[in-house]
Amino acid sequence: MSYLEYNVKTVPSGLRKVLFVNWPLALLLAAVACLGFLMLYSVAGGRLEVWAEPQMKRFVVGMLAMFIVGFIPIWFWRNVSAVVYLGALVLLVAVELFGDVGKGAQRWLDLGPIRLQPSEMMKIALVMFLAAYYDWLDVKKVSRPLWVLIPLIFILVPTFLVLKQPDLGTAILLVAGGGIVMFAAGVSLWYFGTVLALVVALVFAVFESRGTDWQLIEDYQFKRIDTFLDPGSDPLGAGYNITQAQIALGSGGWAGKGYMQGTQSRLNFLPEKHTDFIFTTLAEEFGFVGAFSLLILYALIVGFCIFSGLTNRDRYASLLTYGIAGTFFLFFMVNMSMVTGLMPVVGVPLPLVSYGGTAMIVLLAAFGLVQSAHIHRPR
């Protein structure tokens, strides 16, 4: 069933929409963000103005964006999905041509007063566009090769642009995020199985090729893999970040060292302590209890989204909700796996907690889409 088909009059209008907002979701998001402020205050050594305060301002802007996006009917968003995707794609190309180089990668687009990270926007735009695609596509055609190939192109074009920046973390998130929407849309599991088998085979081939004349990746890349597999092999070089992060995490113990008492972060042993590695500070200062609590908050956010998707009979709305929830899930999962040593370091921030403007606002705006789907669901 599509929104074009059901009675628009059953949908709340005007200020009444406030009553239909998914409040538990909004409160959970705010709770996570508050935890983020707390940690940013701590890693700044008890100074508000360094990271916590700008982050709060962005949170306020992000929340406003969430409500504005949420109050706009979901069919409007579906109709502009393609435009948003194309816009994000143009920005990605623009960043390739005119972007600022930050930390050795082109990620920023300077638009006077605001600096944009188009790759952040693309994560959401891709999800929107794919949801719209499957909403439009005949259900019976979903698993046909041609109709599987088209969304793959939609995914791979921005992925390629992001890889060129180079930003491996975002590229992985784009592929995985797109994959989640395709999965939710009901693309045959065979495809996923085949891709998985191919990936495994490729990884195997890469390792086999090492030292031979048909070596598939560069030596330094092998070294990175080695470092991931055994961070102790190079504790002061590439393994430094992982080792220090694990030390911070592990030394937190059950209940942590206490707020603002983390020696690892306070003494600057932690790399990127306010961005990608902020979770380690949380784990060091609040221990397993704190880290697990954050994980539960994240899981609840995802859970509320999935529940909202399950109860929504609109295809676009469900797919969009799953897609955004999935992307969000990938964010924190990749980040946490990375700092706990389950995954190589790829540079993915902890959603809503890590310091970063575009990511925070874009993410909250994306949850605005979830809210819109929730508010305007067919009843």
Binding site: M1, S2, L4, E5, W136, D138, V139, K140, I180, F183, A184, A185, G186, Q244, Q246, I247, A248, L249, G250, S251, G252, G253, W254, T263, Q264, R266, L267, N268, F269, A283, G287, F288, A291, F292, L295, Y298, A299, V302, G303, I306, G309, L310, R313, R315, S318, L319, Y322, A325, G326, F329, M333, M336, S337, T340, G341, L342
Partner: protein
């Protein structure tokens, strides 16, 4: 686009199924992550806690205060002063060149300091701090400290640095300290970790080097919490090290100062020794240098000045110098002959001005000859022929043995650098060294302290002390280490017939007190401080027969470095000797004219325990002595603060 309700329902079911699957996968992932966190944070927590501590807690060594060195009165002659300095740890600096550049904008850095810092950065481990500059003023020091945030890796430190308040006076005795060099480290098998502290000072020469182990002390430790760039965040604990042991010397700093001043700019050495205990009261070599220059890092210009000076200020002539003792050695020949019984106390020898050996003539310094001389006269007038004769009679081996008994040719165990053993030659020695037989002419030359015989000023002072006391006096430089007195046993008798000793002393008494004595002009007229001595003038060149025929060129007409050495040994007071002195003036000319007056001034100063009354000098000399005293530049020496005495 319209779809059938059936399609819609089916698609909703499918999507819901997939949604549930997604939820399931995500739940599984969350569980995995939880398990992983539990593993790290609960199971392995203790291990990681330890690692975190090791990360942030570092142990730094605290350099101990170097032991002080006191003179015999308890005054500090080698102390420590506060030294403000800055160090850089290249690893923490990131880009050391940039940091150095910024530092240069703040304080002036000498090109030498910069060069050395760059060299050390290139060579040493980046985790070790390297000293950039020393001895900053308080203003410069605080300027750097205030700007610390802009200067990563730069640390300001207050350390202790050696200072020698009496400067040149003790340069040769104490030596000096300097930063540990790679060469120093390479010599040690298991270097003390302290030596890794940048610019840690260790003794390089003299007492500072020889007593390094006692003076250095034990390192303290400081437990500090550092951040990842190595900057110290706070101090967790501190265990002070043990300061090095204080050392007290037997030297009297006032006397030392006087002796150094009295030697002045001559190339000379003087040793003052206690005839009963062997305590060295003063030991100087002139010209001297300021050891403080070396501690601070001597400039190449200053260093060149010291090495190119033909008076060799860096050499310690008092113990390193070995000179032909000249006539002062006649004391040895006389005692050897007397003890061997080859000459009687009253036996006379005829001196016609030379002694003929084969077709070679051995000349007396007095061409006209001394006529009949017996032992005391031979000493008094320093008759060479008398000694040619008795040396020939007693033989070189007995002379050499007597020389060693009196200290010539003996290498004394004193904590000073490069102590010379001198040389008391005998037949074996010549055979060993030159592969030639000992000639009788060698014996004649040795008999008057020429030829192969060599003695250091220290040995001459010991010889004089042993003759004066008749005991086997051993020189002593260290009075106490760490407040513990070094034992001093009463020296054993030499075992020389007292009558023989008395005769030699009598002869020496006449040297300075009889009208025909060679050092009569250097006499003391105060009966409580009379001195006995022996002059010596040793040639540093051969006088050929041809030259002798033309007439020996006077010293004043020779270039400085070919003039004779002037020597004088003496002891006093003659009724109960307490002090023995030796003076050597390199290329000074005659012993009686040059060395004896210096030795008299010094021994009087030592016997009087300060400036002696002018009445000690012969009346005719008092005006001259007084004006000489006024010209002498002595150091103002405040009384010791007493700190040293309690420890000594």
């Amino acid at each position: 686009m319209r779809r059938s309700p059936k399609d819609n329902l089916e698609s909703h079911r499918k999507i819901s199924r997939r949604g549930l699957m997604l939820g399931g996968i995500q739940a599984a992932a969350v569980l995995t992550l939880t398990y992983r966190m539990r593993h790290l944070q609960v199971d392995q927590a203790d291990q990681f806690k330890l690692l975190a501590e090791e990360n942030s807690i570092k142990i730094r060594l605290l350099p101990p205060a170097r032991g002080l060195i006191f003179d015999r009165s308890g005054a500090v002659i080698a102390g420590n002063e506060q030294n403000y300095r800055i160090t850089i740890t290249p690893e923490d600096a990131g880009d050391p060149e940039m940091v150095l550049e910024r530092l240069q904008a703040l304080i002036p850095l000498s090109p030498e300091d910069l060069d050395r810092t760059r060299r050390e950065i290139a060579r040493r481990s980046p985790t070790l701090p390297i000293s950039i500059a020393d001895r900053l003023s308080w203003e410069q020091f605080s300027l750097v400290a205030v700007n610390a945030p802009a200067l990563p890796g730069v640390t300001t430190e207050v350390g202790l640095s050696r200072v020698y308040p009496q400067g040149p006076d003790f340069a040769h005795v104490l030596g000096y300290v300097g930063p540990v060099s790679d060469y120093d480290l390479s010599k040690l098998e298991d270097p003390d970790p302290l030596l890794q502290i940048p610019r840690f000072q260790i003794g390089k020469l003299g007492v500072e080097a020889k007593l390094e182990d006692a003076l250095r002390g034990k390192a303290g430790t400081r437990r500090i919490e550092v951040n990842s760039s190595g900057r110290v965040m706070r101090e967790l604990g501190r265990k002070e090290g043990d300061a090095g042991a204080n050392v007290q010397l037997t030297i009297d700093r006032r006397l030392q100062n006087y002796v150094q001043a009295r030697l002045g700019v001559d190339s000379a050495a003087a040793v003052v020794i206690d005839t009963l205990t062997g305590d060295i009261l003063a030991i100087s070599s002139a010209p001297s240098f300021d050891p403080n220059l070396f501690v601070r890092g001597i400039s190449s210009a200053d260093y060149r000045e010291l090495t190119e000076n033909d008076h060799r200020p860096l050499a310690d002539k008092s113990v390193q110098g070995a000179y032909p003792p000249g006539s002062t050695f006649k004391v040895v020949t006389a005692l050897a002959a007397l003890e061997a019984g080859v000459v009687g106390l009253d036996e006379t020898v005829w001196c016609p001005g030379f002694l003929k050996l084969g077709d070679r003539r051995f000349h007396c310094w007095k061409r006209a000859g001394h006529g009949h001389v017996h032992l005391t006269q031979s000493l008094e007038q320093s008759c060479d022929v008398y000694y040619y004769d008795i040396a020939q009679r007693v033989g070189i081996d007995k002379i050499a043995a007597m020389a060693r008994r009196l200290g010539v040719g003996e290498e004394f165990d004193l904590p000073m650098s490069a102590i010379s053993g001198g040389l008391a030659p005998d037949k074996d020695w010549k055979k060993r060294t030159y592969g030639k037989d000992w000639l009788i002419g060698d014996t004649l030359n040795a008999g008057i302290g020429q030829g192969f015989v060599l003695a250091s000023p220290l040995q001459l002072a010991v010889m004089s002390a042993r003759v004066a006391s008749g005991r086997n006096v051993m020189p002593r430089l260290i009075r106490a280490i760490g407040g513990e007195e070094t034992p001093v046993a009463e020296p054993a008798e030499l075992g020389i017939n007292p009558a023989h000793l008395a005769a030699v002393r009598r002869g020496m008494f006449d040297v300075t007190n009889a009208r025909r004595g060679t050092a009569y002009s250097a006499r003391v007229v105060d009966d409580t401080m009379r001195i006995a001595g022996k002059t010596g003038t040793s040639q540093v060149r051969n006088i050929t027969a041809a030259e002798r025929a033309r007439g020996v060129i006077s010293n004043d007409d020779l270039p400085w470095n070919r003039r004779d050495h002037a020597l004088f040994v003496c002891f006093g007071p003659t009724d109960a000797p307490r002090i023995a002195v030796s003076v050597v003036v390199e290329h000074g000319g005659g012993g009686s004219a040059v060395a004896a007056p210096i030795a008299r001034d010094i021994i009087l100063q030592a016997m009087a325990g300060g400036t002696p009354p002018l009445t000690a000098y012969p009346e005719s000399q008092r005006n001259r002595i007084e004006s000489e005293r006024n010209e002498l530049q002595l150091m103002e020496l405040p009384p010791p603060d007493g700190k040293g005495q309690s420890r000594a």
